[in-house]
């Protein structure tokens, strides 16, 4: 499927509209620092959050949820069991799910759990560069939630992770990088204030699960700007496209919020407002997306994009 920047941007706007018309129910198993901001971000964007993270309920809920986030930020014992239950049930039910391997690398409990869960093939994996490198087995991870590595340094790790687990991998950073192992999008939206509030990355994992939920519902068709009906349906149902859409909308909301903020406190407030108020038209007007297609290339060779027909970096900037 062609996924040039213009298509990705149109699809981002279309999925935002769809998500708001049919709010997906998003189950979050997430860390104690960001539960509140994560739920608020989901409510703001238009989704329905449900933090069902206890044993004997988490799995059951994952079977009926529209999307699932498993974030390993504070994986206490009961939550680890809930994560295992939910991932198993999501796999059976076909619920799209996102793994966020927070701060893995040196910390043994979450690192082992991340490797266990990733084997169940998350629909998407979201992390910073250090986390993605650590999950791919290519590095030692960062210190806490800080990325010690740049987004581009994680490109090879992201590609090999994506191919190994048939997942979309999203690497957060000043420029976000999203790949399914073949296609790689870079998104240059966002604002540094996102790194000065808690949940700036973690809530994006939940919003990604929401867009994946909206995407799953989208295969039946629906308006997607200038795209034809059939193309639009296939495009909107593509997890790579949905993951790109989540990041595009989220980082554009951050830009809108930063214009109205004087510091991290007011930014956090304005960001929730912006998630609720950002329009599909603003998404189209502000998105900064570049795509590389390495279809014909070997895993990890995303720099060899010249070899593939559609592999010329293409940029759409408003």
């Amino acid at each position: 499927m062609r996924t040039d920047p213009a298509h990705l941007i149109d699809a981002s706007a279309a999925l935002l509209g769809r998500l708001r018309e049919h709010p997906p129910l998003v189950q979050c198993i997430t860390n104690s620092v960001v539960t509140n901001v994560t739920a608020n971000a989901l409510l703001a964007i238009g989704a329905a959050p449900a933090m069902v993270d206890i044993r004997e309920e988490a799995g059951l809920f994952a079977g009926i949820a529209g999307g699932l986030l498993v974030n390993l930020g504070t994986p206490a014992e009961e939550q680890r069991d809930a994560a295992r239950e939910s991932v198993a049930a999501a796999s059976v039910a076909g619920t799209p799910w996102v793994l966020d391997p927070v701060a893995i690398g040196a910390l043994p409990v979450r690192t082992a759990l991340a490797h266990e869960l990733v084997a169940a093939r998350p629909t998407a994996i979201r992390g910073n560069a250090s986390e993605i490198i650590a999950l791919a087995g290519a590095g030692a991870g960062g210190r806490g939630v800080d990325a010690a590595d740049s987004t581009d340094a994680a490109a090879d790790a992201a590609t090999s992770l994506a191919l190994a687990h048939a997942s979309v991998v999203a690497v957060s950073g000043p420029v976000d990088l999203i790949t399914d192992g073949r296609r790689t999008a870079r998104i240059a939206n966002g604002d540094a204030l996102l790194t000065r509030i808690t949940g700036g990355g973690c809530a994006l994992g939940a919003v990604t699960a929401a867009f994946l939920g909206a995407s799953r519902d989208a295969s039946a068709g629906g308006a997607a700007g200038d795209l034809g009906e059939r193309t639009a349906g296939a495009l909107l149902a593509d997890p790579f496209v949905a993951t790109v859409a989540a990041t595009v909308v989220y980082t554009i909301a951050a830009e809108l919020a930063a214009e109205r903020s004087t510091g991290p406190g007011s930014f956090a407030v304005a960001f929730l407002d912006a998630l609720a108020l950002v329009t599909p038209a603003e998404v189209i007007a502000r998105a900064k997306v570049t795509v590389t297609d390495a279809a014909a290339s070997a895993p990890g060779s995303e720099t060899a994009s010249d070899a593939a027909p559609n592999a010329e970096p293409a940029t759409a900037r408003a």
Copy 2:
């Protein structure tokens, strides 16, 4: 006792003043999403929050608290034990307590716990329509925290729950419905933005516990607008009145906040400000309360209000 709208509104204003003069200590056993906003809402309105929710402390604390909230949103194992301890101790000590059966219905752990706890006769039960219907055994519950049923659809379930457990039952919705099985109040204040932030319903449970705490202290008398001293004391000490008061004050604060908000982020901030700043005079000026008295009617027959002397719906709107 006569509880026409004017009396309920005067009592709401009076209890707000009393709560601020003598801040009740409110123990909250609540879910991980809303602990922070719940504590902040209590502090803002003028109460003293205490989130004591661990084994071997929760029960002890319930014995000295002015009010207790048990919210089942994320009932991990240790918290379930703490809830049981606290409810037992509250019953012995006479501490008023509120049960919020979040998302019960399909989820087995919390549903079983809700049925276990409700048998201990909560002073008040707060939920959305689907939760109240599920707790009354009359339906399957909603999906997550969303109500799939309307407030009025839950009126029969609320009445039968109230009569079965000698509880006041509060059903949150666009129009809030509160009943003790005989008297039913409907409160038309509030704003839809309350459903776009986390804790919009859950924090009301805690604020209800705070008003019940203030109410318990109120039987000794105190000013209640135009009411006589003795009438005022009995009125303010009535859990039905206190539950109505909590909802009236809370939803009016939401209206004041909505007037100052551009989205859910700024609403959440303005709402805490409004809880702190709302005056008894504003409560009296803005309250929209209707009362039905079904004293002579059978359980579940709140629509047969014509049969009872005071059963004509009476409305006071400012």
Copy 3:
């Protein structure tokens, strides 16, 4: 070392600058109400928060963290084990750590744990007057997080705690009192709105751990206003100075925020902004610090300050 008010104020400004240049990694084992605001306060001031509070990871992390906070607000079983692990590891690694004995006194689990942990000699202990009195074994504690006692009533308890465990003890209140058993500083900055939001005290514990982390890195020297290089290095590396600095900067940020707030909701937002924006120059311009030196006095005799050469209360007000 002389630590008159002017030196403390210069050092507060210098440590703030140093913290922002070299963000310390601060591990927080804290209560469920304030995890989010604590992490946000650390991010705002310029530090890097990490809420690693599970078994088999907490200890490991304490060995590499720049500072550690152990707050006993909601000490569930797994968190208690994590606290023990972390304190043991911090002691071995020399990681500075802060104990916040929230609401100890009548509640048995946290009270026993506080007494166990304090024996491991926290670098600093932060609490309200009732908590400090209870930890010193001199009283029964407060009700919940409210202090039933005044800051000055806790002065003797603070001094004896400090001397018994070689800790700096910080008592929060309208005037904050900080002592290492010999020197006592009183800080008259702050705003009552800090008591109307959750985390007003708890987040200060985390910020204190951040300043202790910055202080540990500071012994190699660095600019400290008009102080000489060597003096500056020793001054900045002094845990008493770092604890004073944390309170000075934090309470000045509260003042700046209060000037921009209409209630507790907007204050909480403005406070995070102020923590991010407050400058060393503002710290110097606004700090209200008094110092008493009881070097020659016996424990608990801080009122006998006339007996010591440098013991005259000295005040620097901008």
